[in-house]
């Protein structure tokens, strides 16, 4: 028997791997929660390799960026001078707003004496395929990270924790097509729903209005004609899905398109976060929440 296995070791190994793959997929098909356990185990085993790969990535990309930075330095300098002039003008306007803001913030701080606890995590990996949009972070169960915890940046919403192991966690970006959560237009309070669509985002209004993202931005499609959506409107989370706190910025409306022959209007949204440049994120820790709190999109 051993001789036979030795003689046909390549075929046996190939057949064994093939059967293992079929078993994995059938397990996922029949019982997704068990498959999640397998995924998390594999991710835990793969963590040291991913961390090592991340180190080399950082080094290689660092060298590349420094080179590019030198090449573009002059061009950037000119652009920055123009920006400074514009910003100085803007600053005068903001100073008066800031005084008012600080007064309001004091009142808000009084109302929210115990804000949600956040922890910082470094991004150590990204999806290597073109279909999924996830990040791997270096904080996991030991740091208090649990499934479905919201992940944010100062700029806005990043995503949610898809799975967590002891030392690491996977963040599903809002641009991932599996992601969907409700939002609202901050000015008009029109309620919409947002879901990822590959490298882009899609917003679905409660009356089936849909917003798509377009690579560098987002596109809202099938928004009912009566909905009040204008250029510059801020799109924020509405806090109803049980994932994100209310009021986190998702993006701003770049342009609105209304065609006479169409039943719905459409709009493009510029996302608040540049998903290609994320190096670290904040995970909002919520101790009281059930780690397996279902997404409202899940059956």
């Amino acid at each position: 028997m051993l001789e036979l296995l030795k003689r046909y070791r390549v075929a046996t190994t190939a057949g064994g791997v093939f059967l293992l793959l079929l078993l994995l997929l059938s397990l996922r098909y029949s019982n997704p929660s068990n498959a999640r356990f397998v995924d998390e185990t594999v991710q835990a085993v793969a963590y040291p390799f991913q961390a090592a790969y991340h180190k080399t990535t950082t080094t290689v990309v660092g060298i590349f960026r420094h080179y590019v930075a030198l090449v573009r330095l002059k061009e950037e300098n000119e652009q920055l001078k123009l920006k400074i002039a514009a910003l100085e003008e803007e600053l005068n306007h903001h100073i008066s707003s800031a005084v008012q803001f600080s007064l309001l913030r004091e009142q808000l701080g009084f109302l929210e004496e115990s804000p949600e606890q956040k922890i910082f995590a470094e991004v150590i990996g990204r999806s290597v395929d073109n279909l999924h949009h996830v990040l791997l972070i270096n904080k996991g169960l030991l740091a208090g990270v649990r499934r479905n915890f919201p992940v944010v940046l100062r700029e806005g919403v990043v995503g949610r924790i898809q799975s967590a192991t002891a030392m690491q966690a996977t963040v599903e970006l809002i641009t991932d097509r599996r992601h969907r959560f409700p939002v609202l237009i901050q000015r008009s309070r029109d309620q919409l729903e947002l879901e990822g669509e590959g490298g882009t985002l899609r917003l679905v209004a409660k009356d089936r209005g849909i917003v798509f993202g377009l690579g560098d931005g987002l596109r809202m499609n099938r928004i009912r004609m009566l909905a009040d959506v204008q250029q510059g409107d801020r799109v924020v989370t509405n806090g109803l899905a049980g994932i994100f706190p209310k009021g986190l910025l998702v993006g701003t409306v770049r342009s609105v398109t209304r065609e006479r022959h169409e039943l719905f209007q459409a709009a493009e949204i510029a996302p608040a976060v540049d998903f290609n440049k994320i190096e670290g994120v904040f995970v909002i820790i919520r101790d009281r929440r059930d780690p397996d709190f279902p997404l409202f999109t899940e059956p």
Partner: protein, 170 residues
């Protein structure tokens, strides 16, 4: 063929995929160099270890893309079998025909993996993925084929490997 060659090649390609492939992305579409080597191994080497290499390369993609473990593993395995069938001697040293084959087989792999994703998750946007990710990536990989062919020829010369002649004219 020595499985060590596959191991070294696999680790190198995984490193390239993780570190550089993202920087090579055009309009958000990055090439999959692991898949490219799986296809070229199938087309040029006709070795049984290629199946193990394909499955493990696919599983590495699964782990590093955080999708559904086994989807890429199975689709890489199946597409390496298709590459083996398609690997006729007339294609081996002709970069243009090899590019067409790699492009076609990349699309086949994309169709397989997205179909599996769709089976496991009915909401997966099959057509959207096919048009925005699979087809552009297949074109990209086809365009990179001559470059990888040079690398393969160097490996073959360095290790004294002979491209297997079979099928056509054999």
């Amino acid at each position: 063929m020595n499985p060590l060659i596959y191991l070294v090649m696999g680790l190198t390609m995984l490193w390239l995929q993780v570190t550089l492939a993202g920087s090579l992305a055009i309009w958000g579409v990055a090439p999959n160099v692991l898949l490219l080597t799986v296809l070229l191994c199938g087309l040029r080497w006709q070795d049984r270890w290629q199946f193990v290499y394909a499955a493990l390369a696919g599983m590495a993609c699964d782990v590093f893309s955080h999708g559904m473990l086994g989807v890429y593993g199975l689709s890489f395995f199946l597409v390496s079998y298709a590459a083996r069938l398609a690997g006729i001697a007339m294609y081996e040293s002709n970069p243009l025909s090899l590019m067409v084959l790699v492009g076609g087989l990349s699309v086949l792999e994309g169709v397989l993996s997205t179909t599996l994703f769709n089976l496991l998750d009915a909401s997966a946007p099959w057509w959207h993925w096919l048009l925005t990710a699979v087809l552009p990536a297949a074109l990209y990989q086809a365009a990179l084929t001559p470059l990888f062919l040079l690398a393969f020829e160097r490996i073959e010369r360095r290790w004294g490997l002979e491209v297997t002649s079979r099928g056509y004219g054999a």
